[in-house]
């Protein structure tokens, strides 16, 4: 009699606590620095970038039968730059996943505001987490803007400011989404990266290259500025980055193993990959995804990239991609030092500093060619140097999700690169330079629920 009575009295007396007990230890109401770190370390959410740009680019072509019968609706249509990409299908990861990253970042930013961390280690971690959240949000906004917003153009007058992407800056799911302008979009990306820059550690976390650091932020700033054609700033950030970290891998020392580069390879500044559901680009798993022949032929035989990047699964068959900077089937889309070298080289060439430009280019190439066959690139003029650099950029950064942004940018510079697919049924779809189809449509469920306007196609 006493046991139950005592029990009930005890429990009633602390009823509030009794009913507030967490139902499962698996459930976390994120509130500690450890919880926030765990959220930001979720690589299934964080480490992925949209694949629609690469799918629409010219690094590869598909076996016709494979394209006709095996590809999913979205990939099928993106390959030929169709007017309707989704055909009514919802849940487009290219949009949903970056916004999930933004949501996580906002949960963390709001959560951090409720924590005061003034002791040493905690304060450092608090700053790193806040910097990571800023970086994550900027990274997501930038990747979205490459696919779903027109290219940045500083020449556009404010009157015809084009629509960018929705900028969600709070974790609250209730406010209705609205599209910011392209200018506002890049301003937000810029301010988030600036915010991250001084919060993050200067040194790269060697075993956790999924976590951003100051060199990664600087590399990202360089990439963003390049896409905005702000070459002076891009060169400055690239230089700042390489001042802090400039390691390159000597491909002469890379063995002929299936996955030569781990996720923590020395060139990686920040790890991410194209959406894992980008099916046609799953490296050698899809033998029908073939490296663009012109691109493949542009690698000299003494260029180690030719064999390290590509091979064919069947003797005599056209080559497929086999290489990755993350030892997985998914295409690396993160930040690495080779890209930063190329950015600094290009920007130097664009301001006429041929020596500096070629210096960076040859530093990179010397690590890419067989040592005994390497001859430094020479160029009589800055313009010639720029051409060499852009060619090497194409070869070095193929299949890294960068080509799409480059196409948009270079065409804006007047490069007039047109894309075309040759289909076995005789059709010949084309993507004209600076065309409206360089901006992909917004997924139908987003349009339906939020009511934002779609991109013209």
């Amino acid at each position: 009699m006493l046991i139950p009575l005592a029990g009930i009295c005890f429990l009633i007396s602390c009823k509030k606590d009794f009913l507030d007990k967490k139902p499962s230890t698996d459930l976390v109401v994120p509130s500690t620095l450890g919880d926030f770190r765990a959220l930001l370390d979720n690589e299934n959410v964080m480490g992925q970038t949209p694949g629609l740009g690469e799918l629409s680019s010219d690094d590869y072509y598909l076996n016709y039968i494979y394209w006709k019968t095996k590809t999913s609706t979205k990939e099928h249509n993106a390959y030929v730059w169709a007017k309707d990409i989704y055909e009514g299908q919802n849940n487009v990861d290219d949009w949903d996943l970056p916004y999930q990253q933004v949501f996580y970042a906002n949960v963390v930013l709001e959560g951090l505001q409720r924590i005061t961390a003034d002791s040493g280690g905690d304060a450092q971690e608090w700053r790193a987490l806040k910097g990571t959240a800023f970086f994550t949000r900027a990274y997501a906004f930038y990747n979205l803007a490459q696919v779903f917003a027109p290219v940045y153009d500083s020449a556009i007058s404010p009157a015809d400011n084009k629509l960018g992407i929705p900028l969600r800056l709070s974790a609250d799911v209730n406010p209705v989404s609205v599209r910011a302008t392209v200018k506002q979009t890049y301003a937000q990306i810029f301010s988030d990266l600036q915010g991250a820059k001084d919060l993050l550690p200067v040194s790269i976390p060697l075993a956790n290259r999924n976590r951003p650091s100051k060199p990664a932020v600087l590399a990202m700033l360089a990439r963003v500025c390049l896409s905005m054609r702000a070459y002076d700033s891009a060169r400055l950030y690239a230089d700042n980055c390489l001042q802090l970290y400039n390691t390159l891998i000597d491909y002469n020392k890379v063995g002929s193993v299936p996955f030569p580069f781990s996720k923590n390879n020395p060139e990686a500044l920040y790890q991410s990959n194209l959406l894992s559901k980008t099916e046609v680009l799953l490296a050698f798993i899809v033998p029908d995804c073939i490296v663009d022949s012109v691109l493949y032929r542009s690698y000299a035989s003494a260029d180690l990239r030719r064999t390290i990047y590509y091979s064919s699964t069947d003797r005599g068959a056209p080559p497929n991609l086999r290489w990755n900077y993350n030892s997985s089937l998914y295409l690396f889309s993160g930040l690495a030092t080779d890209e930063v070298y190329l950015i600094r080289a290009e920007c130097a060439a664009r301001v006429g500093n041929t020596a500096s430009a070629l210096g960076d280019l040859n530093t990179l190439l010397q690590n890419r060619w067989k040592t005994d066959s390497f001859a430094p690139v020479v160029a009589p003029t800055a313009a010639a140097a720029l051409d060499s650099i852009l060619l090497e950029r194409r070869k070095e950064l193929a299949f890294r999700g960068i080509r799409w942004t480059d196409l948009r940018r270079l065409n804006k510079e007047g490069a007039a690169i047109g894309l075309a697919r040759k289909l076995d049924d005789g059709q010949n779809p084309q993507l004209l330079p600076n065309g409206m189809r360089y901006v992909l449509p917004i997924p139908p469920d987003v349009l339906r629920i939020s009511g934002i306007p779609d991109n013209p196609r």
Partner: protein, 1148 residues
């Protein structure tokens, strides 16, 4: 063992017999008005004095006469005598001023049952007098009866009441007929987990199965024992876990994503353990609470109905009673040929065709070395080899045509099952105490070799009256321990129909995982043997689950005042399930894993996964504390009314834990293991991308906290009008404080009218008729949702070795319980002479605030939201009818159950997918049976299909319908977003179901059999899928019926073979209506024969009573609608084989 201590303590309590004497029962039937209490003789003499009447009598009557109290004024002699002789065993005659008094006749008789055995303790009454007699143990009785014709009424709990007109004889033998089936088994009292409710007082819908029917079967699972015994209760078949289907449903379905299981109450409290922990032999009754009036006392847990299991107890004033039962149950081997498998010859023909079409060419050079079938390997040899090799390969292929894997499986992997059951119990009681003790042992050797189940159960209960009429203490415990060995899944990891597994007792190697030639050569002999030999695997397996479970109950009842009792109950329950799977180094799984991770380079051999076994452990456990304080009130209220009420509060705390772990390099003898490094990525031989060592450790603890307040009351006026009401408030830790602040108050009200007790009721065909109507609410929960932004820690480290977490729910501050509104109308009736008895009920269930998904703008970072956004409605009919068809020497009774149920989704956001890979805007979503796909207006589980327009006569292509035309645009037809193309074929669960049980008995023999039926539902059968066939994963004998040449479309609907396979064409065919079958069927479930003997009738019997029986189960289908040979309860699985049990029950 810590757990032993509390058991020992309670066992001690249970067996502590109080050393108190027997309390005499005070019987004082006569009214005592002392001043007038005088001998009858005196009054008669006074009459004689005052009236001058003559008295005529002999002397014997005076000692039989009872004293008389009388108070009359100016009454006639007749009136006075009438009063005086009331309740006297005497008769009088008044004639010619003489009063003739004499003793009534003595009737001697005997009560026997239909088998001629004595019926003890039967009550014998005479119409018109107040006394009665009780038959002795031998069935004999004697009673005074008036000499004028009268009627004898004999009643007994286990038998039908009997009326016998007397015609002047002084000796009778009364044969009583058994109450059989529900006639006897409908307990007169239903138990809702809080109180016993006499059936005549109930307004709600209760169904009870008593021990007679529970003991009919031999299954170790109580739920199987009540299968087909309760209307509205269905054991669901073909359930799919991903669609949240439940194994058992009561009155259909009323939730979508939340918990679909009925609440199970054992000994007053919700049961958290495994149902196999309950030995059905210990179960006294199972009551199913179906409507709100019955179940809303369980409030927010009762939305799916409630099963109340009560265990056996002793009885006060009963001599010790020992009974023993045992049974032996033998089962056939499962029919391996039931599932459709493409014949070996056809399979080989297909492989050859594919080989000739260069289908396997890329696999032969694929760097991942995918496995190739034996026939393909032989074909490669044939292609590459010398003419002699070719001939040898051809001969080997031809030999394979005659082989069938199922032959070896049947011979070496399956056996006859053998289940043994032993059960002993002891019960009894004095006037101050009642006790029950039982012990059970079960051993089931499964039909799969090396699989078995062993269970030991112990239970005991003891109730003491500590202070007569004031204080009662009850204690009980139940303990179960079982071991399940699961070493044989019955399937092997190779899809080819023609491989042999055993040759002359030796296990054969079967291709699996990687190509055999690669396995044999890779690693230069430094790797472990990489062969897969299924027959050896069978013997290497060591996979067992140990369940232990115990409950301890303590209850105190204290009478505060007459009619007012206070009760306190406490239950502690603890259960654990320890699953242990040791895969030693000789097992393929372990060798394969060790090899995959082995790194060989520069002459070094490194094994990141060490040699030795892999031991997986999964421990789950719970411990529950329940406390309940309750007041019971039962009292006369007003001159003709009775008020019964209970009210109380309870608090529950259920703590659960899950603990999964894995040890590598395990050595069983030393019980030692070795550490591994989970962080690095290791290259794989299979050419897959580098991978980390699988990390399986995971620990979770859960806490369910509830505080509840409840009330249940009923008022019965003049045995005719009954009003009832119940209310409950639940608070729990699931929803966060805000939902609790608002609280949820679930209530019910009900009314019943016993129309046959009305004075105006004259309908003699139905002497008992009662109408019932109830309305109320119950609730349900989904523990996966929360009011807060919640994250879940991911089970595995990320690739950098860090813990990571995912956000599972955006915040949902308005989260609340699901509510189910139930209206129930019922009529109970009993026909003349109890020949017919039954009830008919109609119900409507309306679920609101159901947990569902709704779409969110993905820009918010969340594509969907789980909240109270859905609705469902259901209605149905339950009929239970018991009839006594023949009475007498041969007795025949029938029991018919019939249920109709139909549910329909009323509210659901169809733009959200339960599976992120599928789009609910496409009809493909609704054609996929493996996702839950609610569509407003249709049952939750529906069968949809695409229109079928036959085969194309030109080439055997399947044809459908699109935009008003016959179409072969398979991609569009299967993925259309136009819902007009989706044909609703019907519900996937039976709309009509029930059972018919017949029992016949003659003398000591009884026979009963149960027929189950299910109607009004559909299923999709499988057929050939060429894509799957070419992949080698699944063939189908429909292949033989495929379209081959024009004209075939008239005889077959199986499309022609096309290569390469067109997945959309395959999908269209498998989703078309031509493969939809009606599930309707009737099945003879079981048959029971028994022979009873009792010592009273057979004095030579060494025991008090004994029963021998035979019980056959899963006998077979009598009729089914489909002509495909498919048992609709087993569309994708092998039906349970027939079993035959022989058993014995003894009362010692």
């Amino acid at each position: 063992m810590d757990s032993i201590k509390p058991i020992a303590l309670v066992a001690l309590l249970v067996f502590l017999q109080p050393g108190l004497g027997v309390y005499g029962q005070q019987t004082s039937p006569l009214i005592s008005l002392s001043e007038k209490n005088v001998p009858l003789e005196k009054i008669l003499n006074l009459i004689k004095e005052k009236t001058g009447y003559t008295l005529l009598f002999d002397a014997t009557w005076a000692r039989l006469a009872k004293k008389v109290t009388i108070q009359v004024e100016n009454a006639t002699v007749e009136q006075v005598l009438k009063i005086c002789f009331k309740d006297q065993p005497l008769e009088y005659q008044l004639a010619n001023n003489a009063i003739d008094v004499r003793v009534m006749d003595t009737l001697r008789g005997r009560t026997v049952n239909a088998r001629g055995e004595p019926v003890p303790s039967a009550t014998v009454q005479v119409r018109g007098v107040s006394w009665h007699a009780i038959s002795s143990d031998s069935g004999y009785f004697q009673i005074q009866v008036p000499s004028q014709g009268t009627v004898l009424i004999i009643s007994s709990i286990s038998y039908e009441p009997q009326e016998l007109p007397l015609t002047g004889t002084n000796k009778v033998t009364v044969q009583l007929n058994d109450r059989i089936g529900q006639l006897s088994d409908v307990a007169v009292v239903a138990h809702n987990g809080y109180q016993r409710i006499p059936r005549e007082r109930a307004t709600g819908s209760f169904s009870t199965v008593g021990s007679v029917l529970i003991d009919r079967g031999v299954s170790p699972n109580i739920l199987e024992r009540i299968n087909g015994q309760i209307s509205g209760l269905l054991l669901n078949k073909n359930t799919i876990v991903q669609t949240n289907s439940s194994a058992i449903s009561i009155r259909g379905r009323s939730t979508i994503l939340a918990n679909p299981q009925p609440l199970i109450i054992v000994d007053n409290f919700p049961y958290n353990g495994n149902i196999y922990n309950i030995n059905p032999e210990d179960v006294e009754s199972v009551t199913v609470l179906k409507d709100a009036a019955a179940s809303s006392i369980w409030g927010a847990l009762a939305g799916n109905g409630v099963l109340v299991i009560t265990t056996r107890q002793g009885k006060y004033k009963q001599e010790p009673h020992i009974s023993f039962s045992s049974s032996l149950n033998v089962g056939n081997k499962p029919d391996l040929y039931y599932l459709p498998v493409l014949s070996s010859g056809d399979y080989i023909d297909v492989e050859r065709m594919l080989f000739d079409s260069a289908y396997y060419n890329s696999a032969q050079t694929n760097p991942t070395h995918p496995v190739l079938s034996p026939v393909v390997e032989l074909l490669i040899k044939e292609r590459n080899g010398s003419p002699a090799d070719k001939a040898a390969a051809e001969a080997q292929i031809n030999a394979l045509r005659g082989q069938d894997t199922r032959r070896d499986l049947d011979q070496y992997f399956y056996q006859h099952s053998l289940d043994q059951r032993y059960f002993l119990n002891l019960s009894g009681g004095s006037s101050k105490n009642q006790y029950y003790f039982s012990a059970g042992y079960d051993k089931d050797i499964a039909s799969l070799v090396r699989n078995q189940f062993e269970r030991v159960t112990l239970s005991g209960s003891n109730t003491y009256i500590l202070c007569p009429t004031k204080l009662e203490l009850s204690t009980s415990f139940a303990y179960t321990s079982s071991i399940t060995r699961d070493n044989n899944s019955g399937i092997i990891n190779a899809p080819y129909p023609y491989i042999n597994l055993v040759d002359a007792g030796h296990a054969l190697t079967v291709p699996a995982g990687l190509r055999q030639a690669y396995k044999d050569t890779v690693g230069g002999g430094q790797l472990l043997n990489w062969d897969y030999r299924p027959f050896d695997e069978l013997h290497y397996a060591d996979n067992k689950t140990h369940l232990t479970d115990y409950r301890i109950n303590i209850g105190i009842k204290y009478q505060i005042a007459k009619g007012l009792d206070a009760h306190a109950y406490y239950q502690y329950a603890h259960g654990s399930s320890d699953h242990q799977n040791l895969q030693g180094q000789q097992t393929y799984y372990t060798r394969d894993l060790i090899n995959e991770y082995t790194q060989i380079g520069q002459g070094m051999l490194m094994r990141p996964i060490p040699l030795g076994g892999i031991q997986d452990k999964g421990d789950t456990g719970y411990s529950a504390n329940h406390v309940r304080l309750q007041l019971n009130y039962d009292h006369q209220l007003g001159p003709d009314g009775v008020l019964t009420a209970i009210g109380g509060a309870e608090i529950r705390d259920v703590e659960g834990s899950v603990n999964d772990s894995r040890l590598y390099g395990y050595n069983q003898d030393l019980q030692s293991s070795q550490p591994v490094n989970y962080i690095p990525f290791y290259a794989q031989y299979s050419g897959r991308s580098p991978a980390q060592i699988p990390y399986q450790d995971h620990t979770v603890s859960t806490s369910d906290h509830y505080i509840s307040y409840y009330f249940n009351g009923s008022y019965n006026y003049r045995q005719r009008y009954i009003l009832s009401t119940s209310a409950r408030k639940d608070e729990s830790n699931i929803f966060g404080a805000r939902a609790n602040d608002k609280g949820i108050r679930l209530y019910s009200i009900g009314a019943a009218w016993e129309i046959s007790n009305e004075d105006f009721y004259r309908f003699s065909a139905l002497p008992i008729l009662k109408l019932r109507l109830t309305h109320g609410y119950s609730g349900n929960v989904d523990k996966s949702v929360s009011a807060y932004t919640t994250a879940q820690l991911n089970a595995n480290f990320n690739s950098y070795g860090s813990t990571s977490a995912s956000i599972t729910n955006p915040p949902n501050p308005s989260l609340r319980w699901e509510q189910i509104h139930i209206v129930n109308m019922g009529v109970d009736f009993t026909g003349k002479d109890s020949r017919v008895e039954g009830s008919l009920e109609y119900y409507i269930k309306n679920g609101s605030d159901l947990i569902g998904l709704s779409a969110l703008d993905p820009t918010t970072g969340n594509t969907q939201f789980k909240g109270n956004v859905a609705g469902m409605k259901a209605h149905g009919i339950d009929l239970a009818l018991n009839t006594q068809n023949i009475k007498g020497l041969i007795s025949w009774t029938s029991s018919l159950l019939f249920s109709f149920t139909r549910d329909r989704v009323t509210k659901y956001d169809t733009s959200v997918s339960a599976n992120p890979n599928l789009d609910p805007g496409s009809i493909a979503y609704y054609l996929d049976p493996s996702v839950i796909s609610p569509l407003v207006g249709h049952p939750l589980y529906s069968v949809y299909a695409l229109r079928w327009m036959g085969l194309d006569p030109l080439n055997g292509d399947p044809q459908g319908w699109q935009n008003g035309h016959t179409s072969k645009d398979y991609k569009t037809m299967t993925n259309s977003s136009d819902f007009k193309n989706l044909i609703y074929k019907g519900t996937a669960n039976p709309s009509f179901f029930g059972s018919l049980r017949n029992s016949v008995s003659w003398r000591q023999f009884s026979m009963s059999f149960n027929i189950l039926y299910k109607f009004g539902y559909y299923f999709r059968r499988s057929s050939i899928n060429y894509g799957d066939l070419f992949k080698g994963t699944r063939g189908h004998p429909d292949y033989d019926m495929r379209w081959l040449s024009p004209g075939d479309e008239k005889r077959t609907s199986v499309p022609s073979l096309v290569y390469p396979a067109n997945t959309d064409r395959d999908a269209f065919y498998s989703e078309s209506e031509v493969l939809i079958e009606r599930g309707d069927h009737i099945r003879l479930q079981d048959l029971r024969l028994s022979y009873d003997l009792q010592k009273k009738f057979h004095p030579g019997l060494p025991v008090r009573a004994i029963q021998f029986y035979l019980y056959a189960n899963n006998i077979g289908i009598i009729w089914k609608a489909n002509h495909q040979g498919i048992d609709p309860d087993n569309v994708t699985s092998i039906p349970n084989p027939r079993t035959l049990a022989a058993g014995i029950k003894m009362d010692l």
